[in-house]
């Protein structure tokens, strides 16, 4: 059944359909529509979950750490500053192997206060051991959120579903809303591999001395590795039931492309338009959408970009003192691959600035026109600034 939904509501519907048992959240713009909708569902018993209206994002995740250790299905949503406040517990949740699902609405970090789209918040958490997924549109948000529970519960790793602030969270799009019984087929009740149980009392998360800590960490990496294959199988099954699939990567016209644009999130949709336009002009351009950021589908990226001469990575995020974060990851993925394409990094759309078709076309033009990348990342569309302290 098609409905016109905000991206935020797509998240909420997925959480409802997943029969989530404990939700804990703290409000932050632009995540609020997710938790408001879920609060309504809990209030009117549409969803039989306990909703904890905690006093901070830190406590939101802490509460879920408690709940998930009891073996129930859990969800939270946050954004930006809130995610940063959770940072400590992001590590905790993954190392405790808790299948918590979180929606993160990608928003810029302050200061200055900025509530608009920017991926630096979630990418700054890339080393916390969470599976990270980036969505392009509301249908994908809904589908990915449902899939996230399967991923999390099978791998015993937490999953972060990312969606761009406003461009996705507050934008209404038609969404095919699946029926509960169909979702139930895809997502059976959670079968925990461990839980707090007074019949079989154990202590969890106690002191882990050097003689065991590394093995525990390696075990997480093993799960991440298994996650790459498992993601594909989840998608296969999802496709069988719902007729849709997205892939950890989506390659458009990459086989014969000389330049491949690499994008994530809503910039992908804009880039699709540019791609159509440029292809019509006969440009040998391709598009690679990265959906699964952790675990990073390294091998697939190598294969899909193997025939191109250049890749142009569009980053709505930045690592200060280095470059765009996706660009870093792509460079790292390709460096040990003989004959790999040149990697051109572009930073665009930080703090919610529009990444228009013109911006993407400019990126293509710059990539095509330069034989070698001029710098690690080119900041596209920077304005002249009228006033700076110490300006003479």
């Amino acid at each position: 059944m098609k409905q016109v939904l905000e991206g935020s509501h797509a998240v909420a519907e997925a959480v409802r359909l997943a029969r989530t048992q404990v939700i804990s959240a703290y409000p932050i713009t632009p995540q609020t529509h997710i938790v408001e909708r879920l609060s309504e569902y809990c209030a009117d018993s549409t969803l039989a979950a306990r909703f904890l209206r905690v006093e901070s994002e830190h406590s939101a995740l802490a509460a879920l750490i408690g709940a998930a250790t009891c073996g129930v299905r859990t969800f939270t949503a946050t954004s930006s500053q809130g995610l940063a406040l959770m940072h400590e517990l992001l590590h905790w949740a993954s190392a405790a192997r808790l299948p918590i699902v979180m929606a993160n609405v990608n928003r810029a970090m302050a200061p200055g206060w900025n509530i608009w789209a920017d991926q630096t918040d979630s990418l700054a958490q890339r080393d916390t051991g969470w599976i990270q997924l980036y969505c392009e549109h509301s249908q994908e948000v809904l589908d990915t959120t449902i899939q996230a529970f399967r991923l999390a519960e099978w791998l015993n790793l937490p999953v972060m579903v990312n969606l761009d602030a406003f461009f996705l969270s507050h934008t209404y799009e038609p969404v095919d809303l699946p029926k509960q019984n169909v979702v139930d087929r895809f997502l059976p009740p959670y079968q925990p591999r461990f839980q707090l149980d007074t019949e079989y009392p154990c202590a969890f998360n106690q002191l882990a001395p050097p003689n065991i800590y590394m093995e525990m960490r390696h075990n997480i990496q093993t799960a991440m590795d298994e996650g790459l294959a498992f993601f594909d199988q989840v998608e296969d099954e999802f496709e069988d039931i719902f007729g849709r699939r997205y892939g950890s990567l989506e390659a458009v016209h990459c086989k014969d492309a000389e330049v491949i644009l690499i994008t994530s999130g809503t910039v992908t949709s804009t880039s699709r338009q540019v791609l159509t336009k440029l292809r019509k002009k006969g440009e040998k351009v391709g598009l690679l959408k990265i959906k699964l950021f952790r675990p990073f589908p390294l091998k697939a990226i190598r294969e899909l970009t193997a025939s191109a001469k250049k890749v142009a990575v569009v980053d709505r995020n930045f690592s200060f003192g280095a470059s765009g974060i996706f660009a870093q990851e792509i460079r790292a993925a390709l460096c040990n691959h003989p004959g790999h394409p040149l990697v051109y990094g572009y930073v665009a759309g930080l703090g919610g600035r529009d990444v228009t078709t013109a911006v993407v076309e400019e990126i293509y033009r710059l990539t095509k026109g330069n034989d070698m990348p001029q710098q690690e990342s080119i900041w596209v569309g920077l304005h002249e600034v009228d006033h700076a302290i110490g300006q003479s």
């Binding site: 192997r97 591999r193 525990m216 075990n219 298994e226 294959a229 199988q233 989840v234």
Partner: protein, 585 residues
Amino acid sequence: MASQQPLTTRSPLIIPCSYLTTEGNKTGSWRFLRPQYEEKTSPCSSACPSGEDIARIQMLTAQGSFKEAWETILMENPFPGVCGRVCYHPCELQCNRREFDETIAIHTIERFLADTASRYELKFGLDKLPEKKQKVAVIGSGPSGLAAAYFLALLGYQSDVFEALPEPGGVLRWGIPHYRLPPNILNEEVSRLQDFGVRIHCSKPVSRKFLKEAKNNYDAIFLGCGHSQSLPLSIPGEDLPGVKNGLDFLKKIRRGDIPALRGTVAVIGGGNTAIDAARSAVRLGSKVILVYRRRQQDMPAFAEEVEMALEEGIEIRELETPVEIESQKKDLVVTLQKMRVAQEDPQGRARIKPEGKKRKKIRVQHLLIAVGSSAAEDWYDLPGKKRGVIKLNNCVLVHRSREPALVYGGDLTASIKSVVHAVASGKEAAMALDVLFREGPGTIESTLKACLVGIGPSLSMEIYLGGPRVKRSHSIVSYDNLNTDYFRFAPAISQPRLLREERLQSFAEINLKIGASLAIRESERCFNCGICNQCDNCQLFCPEIAVIRDQNPQGRHINYEYCKGCGLCVVECPRNAMALEEERS
């Protein structure tokens, strides 16, 4: 349905999750101090001349185990009924509880236990040691002689007690008035001894010749003939008809020879016999003046007795001494010399001198002299220092080859003439003879020393026999050793007594019985210094769960595999029944 089956194999989880307890950590290796159960000696039991295990007696009483408590007394003293009445209870003076609020009424509890045993006709279950071949003659059936015979019986020896008078008991029967010790109490205690195997031969005075013949029949002779000979005043008029001695006076009352006494009686002296005579005279209907040459506080009589005498209307004239007695018609006129305190001796007792020629005359109808007594026969006198003479704390033993050993005991050797000292003397004699018979004279002193209660001089038969008390340390628990946080203030019970008016009417016993609930309440006040009463604090507060309850008499043991030696159990033991010592690696 694909979703029902695993899509891919997945690796086992390695997570921080426990599957063992901490019991594998033998934290006992951390320990450098070692707590242990170490019972110690209570100051009361050390102060008791007969070494009664008072802390334990109180504990058993508090638990309602009256028979066991009574038998615990009997292990050290055959006369709980007598001593529960007439003992001057030096134990109470040393009670640690005095520093907290008031002493435990140990004396009252002892009497309660004896009364209870009597009321329920309890049979005591002490076992005698196997019978030995040696036999002992005991001269005198006073407290020391009967105690000697009793403890000898316990140790497996037969003895014959020879009593000059027609009934046994000595001073207990003839010297202590009924209002302090009713005769049925004495009779009961004596017959219990007889049931235990003590043979008493009454109306059998013993002569010097007997000693010579004894060697054919006996291996030892215990002389417990007491001081039955009153000392004279050695003043003019002492022989006048109205002048009598206190001991004879008391003896006659016991025989029923003096139904009443009218007029005014002067009693000369400040000892227990003087007080007993004075109070008896009051009961016979006379007015009594007690004349003492020192001050009231210097009287050798027990203070409690003096106080009651005053309550009963006896007039005490202190610092006066008779110098002449004259007869005027039917009266006696006594001239009293005023004395003054010249100085005090180290014990604070007054040394006195006549105060010039200050004299005064009083007119009385009777005069009782009770200024002390001595042995009735000169052959009772102690031998001097010579070979074969061993001077012990409460008796003197003379061992001679081819002759029966001779033990001088009771009042003959006692520095303090009290019933409980007499018991101590009889017990010491029995132990000394047992050592002599078994090992010869050489080890008597060292063996007895090992049986001291605390630092002594009291001795314990239980220790001598190797009972549980052996394990107790000789160190005496002081108030500072206790953890008094576990005790609540509670006043001592007061001994119920006959009213003054009731007392004066008859020789009825003054001190009344107390009930079991009162006795339990009182004995619950006892700190039980140095002994474990199973309060379980050690177990309760152990942070290591290293105090384990078990079936052994201690009720618990320390698991040194885990005990870290923090010492909490020792400090939180309210009664100092534990000790912390350096760990020997």
